[in-house]
């Protein structure tokens, strides 16, 4: 009789070893970050978004150089490009030419290309700073609320509710109207930027705060936190060394998704006339001016509108990809 051991199907007993053999001789332990990075690399849409974001940041940083090469100073008037009767550009397509890539602004003939390029500085700067502020406040308060619970949680959660219920746009309009020209040692554009950053940051931190609080609530019941506590770790150590690393992923994801919201918020404020002051260019401000001209000078509205659209889309696509990569279950 042939012995059963001749049968190649003895794998039934040898399964664990078979796996080891199949994967090669060395086991690569991958960190969470490396796994996420692998997933992200395979997501072409997210990578496309990231490429656009990098490009936009470069444009914002090198705006003076780009404008020197391809445009005209953003504040210079070009009356000679404007039809004195109609107050729109001479010639077709809003004055688009090799000299003025996006055409010229009605009435004063400013270079729309240069203004869109410089506008990216304001939009991105404000969006990044405001997001940073929102993340700082939201993460710290969210962790504290989730970890300590009790009356601390109640206090912080109700504060979030109050902020979420606040008619923030109306508040921003009122605040921007009464703020003096010089305050807190700042003046001019710097003060306006700081003001908008504070307004946007303070209005959007509860969104992050709630998510972090929820994550913290589930994390603090996990075994490794119990382990740390039973080893005698104090709260600050548990919070910042044990739990924070586990919170980096959601913070990163929601920060990326908050940036486009903040870009739109800044555009809305500028559109309503309480953003950055003229003649400093900003996308929202340009859109606001263009509303009076869109029927006869559509390019004035098109290009800043496209800039906002592309930026917001890029951040959203990248943010979505990042979330999928860091937390595939949320798909």
């Amino acid at each position: 009789m042939t012995a059963p051991s001749d049968v190649p199907g003895s794998a039934v007993h040898a399964e664990p070893e078979a796996v080891t053999v199949g994967m090669g001789t060395t086991i690569q332990g991958r960190s969470l970050g490396a796994i996420a990075w692998r997933r992200l690399r395979r997501d072409r849409v997210a990578l496309g978004g990231a490429a656009v974001i990098v490009l936009l940041v470069l444009v914002a940083i090198f705006a003076p150089l780009i404008v020197a090469l391809l445009g005209h100073p953003p504040l210079d008037f070009h009356y000679e490009k404007i039809d004195p009767d109609l107050q729109v550009a001479n010639g077709p397509f809003g004055g688009i030419s090799h000299d003025f890539l996006f055409g010229v602004e009605p009435v004063n003939g400013r270079d729309i290309f240069s203004r869109v390029v410089y506008g990216s500085r304001i939009s991105l700067l404000i969006a990044f700073l405001a997001t940073l502020l929102a993340v700082l406040i939201g993460a710290v308060l969210g962790v504290v609320a989730g970890y300590f619970g009790g009356w601390v949680d109640t206090l912080i959660s109700r504060t979030m509710d109050v902020f979420l219920a606040f008619p923030i746009l109306l508040f921003a309009l009122a605040l921007a109207g009464i703020i003096p020209d010089k305050a807190f040692g700042l003046e001019g554009d710097a003060l306006r930027i700081a003001l908008i950053v504070v307004i946007i940051g303070f209005s959007s931190w509860p969104y992050i705060g709630r998510i972090i609080r929820g994550q913290t609530l589930s994390l603090r019941e996990r075994e490794f936190v119990d382990a740390a506590r039973s080893l005698g770790a104090r709260s600050p150590r548990i919070l910042f060394t044990e739990m924070m690393p586990n919170l980096v992923a959601p913070i990163l994801v929601y920060a990326t998704l908050l940036i486009p919201t903040n870009i739109l918020f800044e555009a809305a404020l500028s559109f309503l006339g309480v953003g950055i002051r003229p003649p400093t260019p900003s996308w929202g401000g340009m859109l606001s001016d263009a509303t009076h001209w869109f029927q006869i000078a559509p390019n004035f509205m098109l290009f800043p509108g496209l800039a906002i659209f592309v930026t917001v889309l890029a951040f959203n696509l990248f943010g979505d990809g990042l979330r999928d990569a860091l937390d595939p279950r949320s798909r």
């Binding site: 009356y79 004195p84 009767d85 107050q87 004063n108 109207g177 020209d181 003649p279 006869i296």
Partner: protein, 580 residues
């Protein structure tokens, strides 16, 4: 509020346009020879009666009640259904700014000190129900116009000038006939006497306001009277759907024999309210509407279309209004307290940029002084001439040196945030003044509180260094007083804000204003207005920008179309139509 004063536009050089326009007269359906000729600034002269004229308003009427309305288009239109003591003549150009008696037999007869004014009413004038009009109806109409709680929109000239002695309103009047006001006497049914607390030589301008049109006390329903105003003019209200539309028909009790001023042509008048302004422009061109009643001209979109099309362009009139768009130079703010620094601003400003901000030559004519050319007696002069009105850097720098600021200085420029043209003005001035080293910080403020809390509040303007304030001003009627009084009288500046004089502070100007008020001779008075204009310009308190213009579109079926200097738009009393 002052900002409501929409005096809009006036006559002007229509000659070239008029020549081109005659061809279009026959497209209205009627091929009669009545239409199509242009005489003395009047397009399509005709006396053919009948038809309906269709008006549209992009907003709501402030009120049809003659006591409660403060738009110049409304005052123009009110002559169709009400007869005030005096009215602006229904005539083209300068003649349209002259006053003629309407309900009264003649213009007002002043006492020697110009403090008492007497009018005698025409015989035979009746309300739409056939009741004869008496001087008591006029007195009652003026009394009710004093009540600013019930009628908040109307002007306050009678409140300011009549010797009220505490009288507030006929609705709070203990007199059984509600005629308790002592400042107005009615010795008989045809005589009315006004007693003023201070002399005022231009009282006839007050008497042309719709609030002197008679109101029968028995029919007065207070704030609801606007639902059915009792007519004394050639038309009476047929239907009235407040906020939407109203129609008018001929008034059977209006008698041509009592009225030398009116020749009513159409049988019906239809007015649509709250119509989108771009829609109005399109419907005017398609023949679906006859008149954009506000008379401020077509919007920017339609303007581009009309100016690019010779046929459409031929059917337009450019009306220059009694409105000045200007920038106040605030002497409270250092270093503009120094006259040389103010003069530097006058010389450095590029007015072609100012004009571009308001739409170029179509939007207005470059102003070199205050009084708009449509104001009777106005003189055009230029105290700070610059080549091509584009600014003179050399002269500006010279003034800066005399001011002790050879390298220039920094100050703020305020404008009304909701007004794109004012923003464009601020940016244009920023550009041109920067060339001589004057740096402007651009500061927008909300329109609603601009005069009350911001630029028009002296301590705010000073604390925030609002050295320049972009603003505009229009006359309530084409006359030096109506234009200048609120703009240059330093005694009108209130510390609490709400000012329309942002910084003209010259006691000599105040004295000249007082002198004008007691000067009953029209020519002499008009001379004083010009002197005030010159003095304010010498002081360099105001940087004049442009005298506003509107591009009015005139559908070919309209007859007797002309622009009157009285209201600076088409005269609605004269219009007829060939469309039956």
């Amino acid at each position: 509020m002052r900002s409501r004063r929409v005096a809009a536009a006036a006559v002007i050089a229509v000659s070239t346009l008029a020549l081109a326009a005659c061809g279009g007269g026959s497209s209205g359906g009627s091929s009669s020879s009545g239409g199509g000729s242009d005489v003395g600034g009047v397009h399509n002269v005709s006396d053919v009666t009948g038809g309906t004229i269709r008006y549209a308003n992009s907003g709501d009427w402030d009120s049809l009640d003659p006591a409660d309305t403060y738009y110049s288009y409304s005052w123009n239109f009110a002559r169709l259904y009400s007869r005030a003591l005096v009215m602006f003549k229904s005539a083209p150009g300068k003649d349209g700014a002259t006053l003629v008696p309407d309900l009264a037999e003649s213009l007002g007869k002043p006492s020697d000190d110009a403090k008492t004014w007497t009018y005698t009413l025409r015989q035979g004038v009746k309300f739409e129900d056939g009741t004869p009009v008496t001087s008591k109806d006029v007195k009652y109409a003026v009394e009710r116009s004093l009540d600013k709680t019930t009628f908040p929109n109307g002007p306050t000239y009678f409140n300011d000038f009549l010797d009220l002695q505490g009288y507030t309103s006929p609705y709070a009047d203990s007199d059984p006939n509600k005629l308790g006001l002592k400042a107005i006497d009615t010795p008989d049914d045809r005589t009315i006497v006004f007693h003023l607390k201070q002399p005022f030589s231009g009282f006839d301008y007050f008497a042309q306001m719709p609030s002197t049109a008679p109101v029968p006390v028995a029919k007065d329903t207070g704030s609801k009277y606007k639902e059915h105003v009792v007519s004394t003019g050639p038309y009476m209200f047929d239907t009235n759907d407040l906020g939407k539309s109203f129609t008018m028909k001929r008034n059977p009790n209006w008698d041509q024999a009592t009225d030398p001023n009116r020749k009513p042509l159409p049988d019906r008048i239809e007015v649509a309210l709250n119509v989108n302004s771009d829609d109005i422009d399109n419907r005017l061109q398609s023949g679906d509407l006859d008149v954009a009643i506000e008379g401020t001209g077509v919007g920017p979109a339609a303007q581009g279309k009309v100016l690019a099309d010779q046929t459409l362009k031929a059917n337009t009139d450019s009306a220059i209004s009694a409105r000045l768009w200007y920038t106040s130079i605030n002497s409270d703010v250092a270093p503009l307290d120094n006259i040389h620094c103010r003069k530097a601003v006058e010389y450095a400003a590029d007015k072609t940029g100012y004009q571009r901000a308001y739409g170029g030559a179509t939007g207005g004519e470059i102003a070199t002084n205050l009084l708009p050319p449509v104001i009777p007696g106005a003189e055009k002069f230029d105290t700070y001439p610059t080549p091509g009105n584009a600014g003179d850097a050399a002269k500006a720098k010279d003034e800066l040196a005399q001011c002790g600021q050879p390298n220039g200085f920094t100050t703020g420029i305020s404008y009304r945030a909701e007004r794109p043209k004012e923003k464009a003005t601020a940016e244009a001035l920023q550009q041109s003044l920067a060339k001589v080293g004057i740096n402007l910080e651009v500061k927008p403020y909300p329109l609603g509180d601009y005069a009350k809390l911001y630029a028009g509040k002296p301590d705010f303007a000073k604390a925030n260094s609002l050295g320049l304030n972009v603003f505009g001003w229009a006359a309530d009627w084409p006359d030096g007083y109506g234009f200048l009084a609120q703009m240059v009288d330093s005694r009108a500046i209130r510390a609490s804000g709400g000012n329309t004089n942002f910084g003209v502070k010259d006691p000599e100007v105040d004295a000249m204003l007082d002198k004008a008020l007691v000067t009953t001779d029209t020519t002499a008075r008009e001379k004083i207005w010009v002197d005030i204009d010159k003095k304010v310009m010498d002081d360099a308190y105001i940087l004049p920008g442009i005298w506003s213009k509107g591009l009015l579109y005139r559908p070919p079926n309209l007859t007797n179309v002309f622009i009157t200097d009285g209201y600076q738009m088409f005269d609605y009393l004269a219009l007829g139509t060939t469309r039956k």
